[in-house]
C-alpha cells in the first residue's frame, strides 16, 4: 500500500490499472485530458492498450468490442463527449457488456464551459440513451474515492454484466490529494460468455441487443429489469454524517458535498442540528434511507451545481413526508462555504429552529 499525492484524474487512472483495466479508448476533451494522457504513458508499462479513437462514438464502440471480448475496458470523457457515447452505452447496456465509463463533467448545454458542473446527473442516472436501462453510477467525493470507486466500478460491472459510470467533475479531477493505492490485481479469470473465438465450445458466443420478435425484446427487458431490481436491493451506497439527531439534512454529492461538509461543521459548532447525506451511488439511489429520515420528520436541503436534478430524486424518495428545499448554482462556479452556511442558517430561522 503506497500513499502518494495525485491529481484526481490520475488517481482514477492508476486505480483503473490496479483494478486490472488493460484497455483504454478515449478522445481528448477538457477537463478529463489527464486520464488519457496518464493511460498513454502507463498502459505500455503494463502490457495494456491505449488507443486514441477518432471520436467518442468510436471510443465507446471499441470499449463495447473489448468488453465483449472479455477484457476490463474503459473510456473517459466530459459532458459533450458523453452525449456522443450515449448510443454506444445503450447498446452496451442492452448487450450486457461490462465496462466503465468516466464522465469528468463540465457545464452545458451545448459546448457549455470548462468549469465544474453537476448538470449531467439526469443523463447519468436515467439511462442517457434510448431504451429502458440503467448504469450503476458512482460519485466520488475524495481523491481516495476516485481510486476506490473505479476499482469497485470494474468489479460491479463484471458482477452484474452492466456498464458502470464514474460521475466526477472538473474539481474532483484536477484537485491533488493524498491517496493510498491498492496492490495490482492478479490476472482476471476468463469469462464464459465472451467473444474469444469458440475454442472448442459447441455453441458460439453471441453478444447483441437485438430482439427482433416482440417476445424476444420483452424477455430481454424483463431480464434487465430483474437485474436492476437486484442492483437496487444490494448496491446502494451513501454516507450519512450526523443525520440521526439532525433537524435539517443536506443532500449533496461529489465536489458540492465537500463544500457542504465545511459549512455543516461551522453550523454544528454553533450547536445547530444539521447533517449530511451524501449519495455515493447516484443509481441505485439511496431512496430508502431518505424515506426513513423523512418519516422521522427531518427536513431536507439539496445543494447541487445544476438547476435541480438530484433534487428530483430526493423529492421522489421523500414522497411528501417532509419538506425539500433546493440551492443550486448555474454559472459553472462552485457554491462557497459561506453561501451554503447562509442558506442553511436562513432556512433554520424560517423554521424557527435557529
Amino acid at each position: 500500500m503506497e500513499r502518494v499525492m495525485m491529481k484526481g484524474n490520475e488517481a482514477l487512472a492508476e486505480g483503473a490499472i490496479r483494478a486490472g483495466c488493460r484497455f483504454f479508448f478515449g478522445y481528448p476533451i477538457t477537463p478529463q485530458n489527464e486520464v488519457p494522457e496518464y493511460m498513454a504513458r502507463r498502459m505500455p508499462e503494463v502490457n495494456g492498450v491505449f488507443l486514441q479513437a477518432e471520436s467518442e462514438v468510436s471510443a465507446i464502440n471499441m470499449v463495447y468490442g473489448a468488453g465483449g471480448a472479455g477484457a476490463r475496458a474503459m473510456t473517459s470523457s466530459s459532458s459533450p463527449g458523453i452525449s456522443l457515447k450515449q448510443e454506444g452505452i445503450s447498446y452496451i447496456a442492452g448487450a450486457e457488456v461490462p465496462c466503465v465509463i468516466v464522465n469528468v463533467s463540465r457545464g452545458g448545454p451545448g459546448l457549455g464551459g470548462l468549469t465544474p458542473s453537476q448538470s449531467d446527473y439526469f443523463q447519468a442516472t436515467k439511462g442517457g440513451g434510448h431504451g429502458d436501462y440503467h448504469l450503476i453510477v458512482f460519485a466520488p467525493g475524495t481523491g481516495q474515492e476516485m481510486v476506490d470507486l473505479i476499482g469497485l466500478a470494474f468489479d460491479k460491472a463484471e458482477e452484474y454484466r452492466n456498464p458502470t459510470m464514474i460521475l466526477s467533475d472538473a474539481i474532483m479531477g484536477q484537485m491533488m490529494e493524498p491517496v493510498v493505492l491498492p496492490e495490482m490485481r492478479p490476472e482476471l479469470k476468463e469469462k464464459s460468455w465472451a467473444t474469444t473465438g469458440k475454442k472448442g465450445r459447441v455453441k458460439p458466443n453471441v453478444i447483441n441487443s437485438l430482439g427482433i420478435l416482440d417476445k424476444d425484446l420483452e424477455l430481454m427487458n424483463i431480464k434487465l429489469q430483474e437485474k436492476y431490481a437486484r442492483i437496487e436491493a444490494n448496491e446502494v451506497r451513501y454516507e450519512a454524517d450526523g443525520t440521526d439527531d439532525a433537524d435539517l439534512i443536506v443532500v449533496a454529492y461529489g465536489t458540492t458535498s465537500r463544500v457542504v461538509r465545511s459549512a455543516l461543521s461551522m453550523l454544528r459548532e454553533e450547536g445547530k442540528k444539521v447533517g449530511l447525506l451524501r449519495p455515493i451511488t447516484l443509481w441505485p439511489f439511496p431512496k430508502k434511507i431518505l424515506g426513513d429520515l423523512a418519516a422521522k420528520n427531518k427536513r431536507f436541503l439539496v445543494v447541487e451545481m445544476s438547476s435541480g436534478q438530484l433534487v428530483e430524486d430526493v423529492i421522489l424518495a421523500v414522497n411528501d413526508r417532509s419538506k425539500v428545499d433546493f440551492y443550486g448554482k448555474l454559472n459553472g462556479t462552485i457554491p462557497t462555504v459561506r453561501e451554503v452556511y447562509e442558506e442553511i442558517t436562513s432556512l433554520l430561522q424560517k423554521e424557527g429552529r435557529a
Binding site: L51, A53, G65, I212
Partner: protein
C-alpha cells in the same frame, strides 16, 4: 468417391432471411469457405452490421458481436486488440460503412487495424426499404431519390476502395462482384486473401463486393445481376487497389 461439394462448416444450418435472388447469401458462403479453408473457425470472431446482414450471427458458426449502425470497425478494433491472435472480421453494407460509419472505416483503415472487412455494396439501403445510399448511382431511382439521384443537389457516389487507397494504412483492398459464377470464384479468392492478410499479420484488408438487391431495385433476380454487370461495374471498376505486392489489375 470424392466429395466435391458440401456445406461450409463455418455456417449454421439456419435458413437465411434474405430475399430470393439476394447475393448476401453467396457472400456469406464465400466468407464461411475462407474460414473453413484456413481452419480458423475456433478463433474467428465476426462483427455484424445494422443492415440486411444484421442477423449474420445466426448464420455463421463463430463467435459474434452485433455492432451499432456503422460502428463495426470500431467494435472489431476493440475485439482484435484484446485477442490479437484471433481472426476478426466485420461484415458491412454500404449505408453502414460509407455513410454513417465513414469515420470508423477510414480510421480503422488508416490505423492499419489488423481486421478483415467484407463490404457489401448494393447501391441502396436494403433493410430500411430501398432509400438512397452513398453508393447509389447518378440518376438511380430509390425511395428517397424518386426522380433519380441528382448529383447537382446530393452529390456523387463514393468509391470506397479508391478512397481508402489514398491512405498508407491498408494492406489489401480489392473490389469484386458476384453477378456470375466466374466472378464469384474471383470474389472467393479475394475474400480468402483478405483473411490470409490478417492471419499473416499484414494489416487492414477490405473486399468490396458488388451485390444485388432485386427487392429494392424492383427487378427480377436475373435482371438485377445484369444491372450489377452493366451499370455498377462501369462506375465501380473491379480490381486490386492495394496489395502488399502493390499489384493493380483491373478487369471490368
Amino acid at each position: 468417391m470424392k466429395k466435391v461439394f458440401s456445406f461450409p462448416r463455418a455456417m449454421t444450418d439456419k435458413r437465411t432471411h434474405y430475399c430470393p435472388g439476394c447475393t448476401h447469401g453467396i457472400i456469406h458462403r464465400l466468407v464461411a469457405e475462407a474460414i473453413d479453408d484456413f481452419g480458423i473457425q475456433e478463433k474467428t470472431i465476426g462483427v455484424a452490421p445494422v443492415g440486411c446482414a444484421v442477423l449474420a450471427y445466426d448464420y455463421f458458426d463463430v463467435d459474434f458481436q452485433e455492432a451499432a449502425h456503422g460502428r463495426a470497425p470500431a467494435v472489431a478494433t476493440g475485439i482484435k486488440r484484446v485477442h490479437p491472435d484471433s481472426v476478426v472480421f466485420a461484415y458491412q453494407g454500404d449505408g453502414d460503412l460509407a455513410s454513417i460509419g465513414a469515420a470508423e472505416i477510414i480510421h480503422a483503415a488508416t490505423r492499419g487495424e489488423k481486421i478483415t472487412v467484407i463490404f457489401v455494396n448494393n447501391a441502396v439501403y436494403g433493410m430500411t426499404g430501398g432509400q438512397m445510399a452513398p453508393t447509389t448511382l447518378p440518376g438511380q431511382k430509390t425511395t428517397t431519390s424518386p426522380y433519380g439521384r441528382d448529383t447537382a443537389t446530393v452529390g456523387y457516389p463514393i468509391r470506397v476502395c479508391e478512397l481508402l487507397a489514398t491512405l498508407d494504412g491498408p494492406a489489401y483492398l480489392e473490389r469484386v462482384s458476384v453477378h456470375d459464377p466466374k466472378h464469384i470464384i474471383k470474389a472467393g479468392a479475394a475474400i480468402r486473401k483478405a483473411f490470409d492478410m490478417q492471419i499473416k499479420g499484414a494489416g487492414f484488408a477490405l473486399v468490396e463486393v458488388l451485390s444485388s438487391c432485386p427487392t429494392n431495385w424492383g427487378m427480377t433476380p436475373k435482371d438485377a445481376l445484369r444491372w450489377v454487370e452493366e451499370k455498377m461495374i462501369p462506375y465501380y471498376p473491379l480490381g486490386v487497389f492495394r496489395s502488399p505486392e502493390e499489384v493493380t489489375s483491373c478487369d471490368a
